[in-house]
Structure formats: C-alpha cells, structure tokens
Symmetry: C2
Amino acid sequence: MKKAFNEVRVGVSTHMKNTNQQIGWPKGFRSSGISAGIKADGSLDMALIYSDVSAAAAGVFTTNQVCAAPVKLCRAHLVEPQARAIVVNSGVANACTGVVGMEAAMLMASQTAGELACLPEEILVCSTGKIGPQLPMDKIGPGLVALADSAAVDQVDVTARAMMTTDTRSKQVVRDIELGGVSVRLTGLAKGAGMIEPNMATMLAFITTDAVVEPSLLQEVLTSAVDQSFNRITVDGDQSTNDTVLLLANGASGAVVEKTEPVGYGAFVSALNEICFDLAMMIVRDGEGADRFVTVTVEGAQTADEADLAARSVANSLLNKTAWAGTYPDWGRIMDAIGYAAAQVDEERVNIFYGTTQAVEGGVQAASSMEEMVKAVSEMELLIRIELGLGTGSATVYTCNCTEAYVQINV
Amino acid sequence: MKKAFNEVRVGVSTHMKNTNQQIGWPKGFRSSGISAGIKADGSLDMALIYSDVSAAAAGVFTTNQVCAAPVKLCRAHLVEPQARAIVVNSGVANACTGVVGMEAAMLMASQTAGELACLPEEILVCSTGKIGPQLPMDKIGPGLVALADSAAVDQVDVTARAMMTTDTRSKQVVRDIELGGVSVRLTGLAKGAGMIEPNMATMLAFITTDAVVEPSLLQEVLTSAVDQSFNRITVDGDQSTNDTVLLLANGASGAVVEKTEPVGYGAFVSALNEICFDLAMMIVRDGEGADRFVTVTVEGAQTADEADLAARSVANSLLNKTAWAGTYPDWGRIMDAIGYAAAQVDEERVNIFYGTTQAVEGGVQAASSMEEMVKAVSEMELLIRIELGLGTGSATVYTCNCTEAYVQINV
C-alpha cells in the first residue's frame, strides 16, 4: 500500500502517525472532549479546540444544497476570517432543523464565546450525527461549560474521539517543520467513515498551526489541499449535509508563511497537503464495514475531468465495490463502469491493471494467468490502473470495498 | 403496492400474471430452452424464440459505450427490420471479447439460420452472464441443433428459465386484446435481477405479437414503452453491456395496427406498455437480495428532467437503499440525496411522505408521530413521495432495497 501511494503521489511522504500515540497541538492551542449526554450510550460527544489568541481562519464546506445549520453559521462567521475556537458535537447533525436549528447553532456559538470571553462570531460550530432531530440544548449548555473547564494542551486524542460517530478509531496527524530556523507545527484531526464522496461528505477535519499566515492565503492553500485529498475519496457515493474542513493559524510560533519566501511557503504547503491527504486516507481506511483499501487511477483520458468521472464511476459502482470483497478478478465490472461514465471510452483501447498484473489488453482479457490475477486482486491494498488510450488526462480516487458489514451498520 | 402503482399510472391495469402459470405464445411463434453445458451446474442456458414466418422487428439496446458483441450484431441486423428468431445464451455475456467474440456471435446467427432455413441477418442474438470469457462454441453449436429440434408452441416457461442468471424466478406476461373483432396476443419474457439502471442494464426482454405492425411504427411504440418501464427501474445503479429489448410482430392474426385506426392502435399500445411495465416491475421485485419494493416519486421540480435526477439520486443512494432494509424513518438520508442531485432544491420547500404519512414539512420533521412513521416505513411496498415545491416537473422511479444478501450474491 505504501507502494500504491508512492506511485500516485511521487515526492510526498506517506508516513502516518499511529493514532493511538498521543500527539500534541501547535503552540497556543488547547482542547477538550467530554460526554454531555447527547449520545444515548454516554460516550464522548462534545469537543472544543481553541487558540489562546485570535487566529486566522479558513474553511471548506459541503456543496450539498441541503446543508446543516452549523455549516451556514460557519460560512457567515468566516466572512470575517478570524476565529478563537471550534466547538463540535457528535450524535446530532443539526441538519434539516429549520429556524430552531439555526438558533441552536447560534446559541452554541454565543455560549462558547461566553466561556472563552470572545465574540460569538469568533466561534466556529460543527455538528455530526443524525439528520433531523433538534440539538438537546439542555445538554449542550452544561457541556460547553465542562469543555471550557477541562481544556488543556495534552488532550488531542480525547478531542478527536469526541467527534466520532460510526468511526472505529480516531484520526490524528501531526507535522513539524522548520521555517527560517523556527519550529512550526501543524496538527489535524478528522472524523468520518461513511457517506464520503466528492466534496467530503459527513466528514469533519480541523487543522491548526502556529504559523503566521494571512487569511486569504490560508484559504487558498486549504482549498487546494482539500481538492487533492478529501475531495478524492469516496466510500459510498453519498454527500453529506455537514462536511466541514477548518484551518486555524494563530501565529504563536512567530514564523511567517508567505509566497515571497518560497522555501518556507513550499514546506508549509507540503505539510498541509500531507496532513489533509493522510486524514483523508484514514477516513477511507475506516470506511464503514470496509476491509480493503482501493486506489483507482485512470490515465489517458481525453481530459483530467473525464479521467475523474471514469475513476469515480468505477469507485462508486456497487458491483465493483462488492467484487472487491472477494478474490475473483471481475474486470468486466470495471469495463462496464467506465462504459457508462460520462467520459469518452473506446473499448478497444482500454488496458486495465491490478497492481502490476495486466487484466485487460485492448478491451479483452490479457494474457495473465488466472492464478496471477487472483493473487493480484486478493491484495488488501488494491491498486487498479485503467488506461483509456485517448489523451493525457489522469485522475486518482481512493475508496474501499463494500461488505455485508456496511449494510449492517446502515440498516 | 397496487395502490402505489395506481397512483402513478392512472388508467393502466397492474394485473400481473403468476409466472408459475403456463402462458402461451401468439400465433405462429414457437420456442425452446435447453441446457447446452455453458453453465457449470448444468442448468438451462440456451433459448430460442422463433416465428414460422418473417416478422417485423424492433429493438432497444444499452447505451453503455462498452457493449457486447451480440448487441452490436443485433443493431446491424435490425438495419433491415425483419427477423425470424431470437437466440439467447446465459452464463457468458460475450462482452469485452473483441474480434473473437464478434465472430462467435455471427456464427451463432448463421448456425441458427441454418437450422431454421433463413438468412443469418434474420437472427437476433443475445447473451447474458459473465463479462470477459469467450463463448464455448463447441457447446453452442450442438445447443442450437437441440433448440431447433425441441421448439414447440407450449414451452414459454422453459424458454424464460433458460435466459436466467441470478434471477430467482422466470418473468412472463401475456395480454390478449381484440382488434376489429380479431383476437391478438402479446407475450413477453424477461430476465434480470441486478445491475439495473437507467437504460436497462443486464436485462433482456423479448416481446412477440401476432398483430400486423409496420416496422417503423413497431420501433416507435417499443421505444416509448421502454422509456416508461425498463428505463424507470433501478436496482444497483450499474448499467450493463448487454441490455436488449426486442419486439417481433409476425402478423399471423391478420389484425392490423395503425395510427389511422386509433381504437385498435390505442389498445395495442396499452397492452405493450403494460407488458413492458409488468416485466420491469418483476425485475425490480427480483432485485438481487432485495426484500422491499420502493417507488420514489418526485413532484414539483422545475422540470421533468430535474424530477428524474432527484428521484434517481434517492433511489440509487446506498445509504437510502440500506435504510429501506430497516424500519427506522431515516428521512434525513432522502433530504441529503436530493440535496446533492443535479436538480434545484430549496430545502425549506421540501415535503416528504412515506405512503400517506408526512415525514418532512418545509424541510424539517413533520408532525407525524414516530409510531406512525415507523409503521409507514415498515411497509414491504414503500411509496416515497417528495414534493420540491418549485415547479410542475414530476418523475417516478421504481427500485428495491439493498440487503446483506446483495453483497453475498455479488462478492
């Protein structure tokens, strides 16, 4: 699998932190995670991440026309791109909750601001969980007090766990870089394990850094990083109402990131891209009920957009996702899925590879033996490469298989 | 469910034949079904339907860019819209088989023509099964002889069963009508149980009639009937390489169908529409591993096309399909799926109903009690009606749920 990644992301480290290992925040950030009683089983369900000082802030959100109250509120608050804190609840999405839901999100922001002695507009609110129910504000209020009281610099893991819904493990990544001799840290947390598609569905990711970054540049580098990471994964093809990626830069290190200093800028962008990519891969690996990680690369499409459409058609095909739970080299389902994609395909030019084993040559079965093919598709880290032979457009998406366990989780 | 159908198809009978009941062909048609040894388990795998005289012929095929050799051959043969026979094998799709596969399909046609003493161009060839392998021509040849030898007027059921792949039951419908005092019959067979989406995936349907119909009119009424039936069902969102619907009219009754005789024309079109609709519904009901039949109707879209896109987004959403295996009224997943459809949605105008129970009013949970909602979504025939409140466009698609059994079948 390291190999698969390296093949598609030359030059980017794929080192992943063991998520059981405690990692720390950048300078000037604290956090907490508590159980406020929103989830019936009493597990962790509220989290707070805050900066001691006001931080530059950037965000990327779901493109779903039906979006949650906290998404609307975050968008409004980021008109002024400064923030002090991110407050999160899990268990209830506060989506499709109308005016009452919007008032609840605003109350979460103002109550958090009261605890942190800042303006409500400096609070970014996120929710994840069931669509429809209203937030239990009688639990949220005391929860916010407990979050503020317990916030500390060494609580990254409990914070990440308090964001989880169907996730089986918390998702945390850290990168330390040097900018002009000054140590700078980026720490990212994410949650998400299903309903993941283009544009990031039911996925929350929060990245903090102590670098000094001007807000418009912060937004630019975040948007680019998200395009190359969270927007390239798909678990079940569904897009959520609540997807949010936020990035806070509080400047506590004193190290400045700007384009006029290309070495430092490059290092920062690389670290941010790695954080987003690693978090995105952790989400796919934790795909609901999944036990295989699948990379689908399409090359030789007429355009990059067509390559993307063909790759997503394969990655989201239920027939392919179920095939990848077995060990039969069912490349016909790949041919079928590219055939109905909104991308030009000339069946006689198509080559398909499982890893390095060629399955299809010129649209028909290649010479590889069945034994080789079965071995190739039995890899737990499956790399599927499709050559369309029509142009230079290429794209890669990362996905997982669909097992009976997915159905059990989502019934 | 009868109710659901009536609501969306006013004026069309929804009577379905019991498929265990033996039904007959129109005058002048014979058929057979045999085991040629293509399927490893020795079950039925070849079928022949033929007319004693040359018949007017029409066809509708998959729109997948990757399509099977027999589809290409049928298209070529229908340039001259006359046919004597349809020959079918199951077990191997003869798709992604290149020049060898094309030659095999042509050989199937010429060998059948030899048996029936007609031209190869009068034979329509269909295959269904695994994509990739070549047809075992050493078995096909003797199979064709056996098919011709055993053809008879009373073998509709064995013919239908010989077309099956993952189907759990054969699919047959008959309609008898009177045209100017003359009795006319339409008999239809279909196979298909998965990989069903817009444009009819992995689905074969053959309809025969003893009416006299001019070929161009035959094509017109078939295309229209398919649009209202096979193109409105979806099982798993995948489109196949082999979809084919064929209609043969051999004129043996002597009764002429033409637009200048609107009463008879209307009766014929209604009967054809009913046959196609009933066969399509049988396919959805036999959806791989499915145990719920779901009708998704979208009303009030800006256009009919947008209504269709919204309905398909819901019907193909894996999160919704799995929800429909349970009894929890998870209307948030419906809101989510219409939100990411390529159709304009204003969340505050959306109403959603399960049967007659309102789940969503103005984008938020309606006043119905949880008990009422659970009862409504527990119906084995689930009718979901979505009002977008933006215009007059409406569309209905028919689908089924996704269970663990689907995954087991497709691993």
